[in-house]
Amino acid sequence: MADQAETPKIIPALAWYRPFESLAYAFIRFCTGGLIVPHGMDRLFYSGSHGELGGILNSLGPSVVGTFELVGGIFLALGLFTRPVALLFAIEWGAIAITGAMGLKPGTSWLMLGATPHYPAFVAALCIVFILRGGGYYSLDRCLGKEF
């Protein structure tokens, strides 16, 4: 078990989530990596748009970025080489957020329902957190016994 120091429950009978409590961090990592994978698949297999990548990332080519997103997203989801992969994603999604922010017209809302760069900024921030914590207990990094 990752950690046994559990806070007592107000309604213990309703605490159906108790067996899954220690999975929360891994679940966040898994979902973040898992939702980066479709970006890679779109760029690689469906000629998806890559206008949001901006100058430097675009110069690498969508196939390079797409391959990294596909493979790196799977690695992040599984917690394999978590910190270096998260570092590269933080740089990539941070660059996308900055590119998007520079292209916004003044007064454009950053609220959730718009296609604004708040999402890539959020993903980049999550990746910075993954750098700090690493893969955590439920990760392939821990199974390997070595991590960056």
Partner: protein
């Protein structure tokens, strides 16, 4: 609990010199994600509470979905995004708040954003989907070690 107090073993690190930084900052990761999540929802709450956003979504998106009592739902969303975001950041009543956010984000994802495609570049479903999955993680994990729930010593 959420993997926050597991000690980081320098022998497991490829660069052992980083162990000190990871030991200091790593345990804060889960709480940092909670605060990030609150920060991304909070501007929506400010907009709805102080800039007419509640009325706008009541007459717009909620009415378009055909829900009864659109203003009641709009104010529920406003409460979740403003006061809920503050409570989530502090880790107070984390699970009920996170559950309400999960339901709200699921409705936004599958009721509104899914029509715009998958990706954020078109305002697609992935935005609300990732946020909803993360709030669901807080339903599973609760507030964690660095939360008011933990300070109080009881949690849902």
């Amino acid at each position: 609990m959420i993997d926050e107090t597991r000690t980081i073993d320098a022998n497991e690190l490829i660069i052992p010199a980083l162990a000190g930084a990871y030991r200091t900052l790593g345990p804060l990761a889960y709480a940092a994600i909670r605060v990030l999540m609150a920060l991304i929802l909070f501007p929506g709450g400010i907009d709805k509470l102080f800039h007419g956003g509640a009325a706008r979504i009541a007459t717009g998106a909620i009415t378009a979905m055909g829900w009864p009592f659109p203003y009641a739902w709009a104010w529920a969303v406003t409460f979740i995004e403003f006061f809920g975001a503050i409570m989530l950041a502090l880790g107070l009543f984390t699970r009920p708040i996170a559950f309400a956010m999960t339901v709200q984000l699921a409705v936004i994802a599958f009721g509104i954003m899914i029509k715009r495609g998958m990706f954020w570049t078109s305002g697609g479903i992935e935005v609300a989907l990732l946020l909803g999955l993360i709030t669901f993680a807080f339903v599973l994990g609760g507030g964690g070690r660095y939360s008011l729930d933990h300070v109080i010593g009881r949690e849902f």
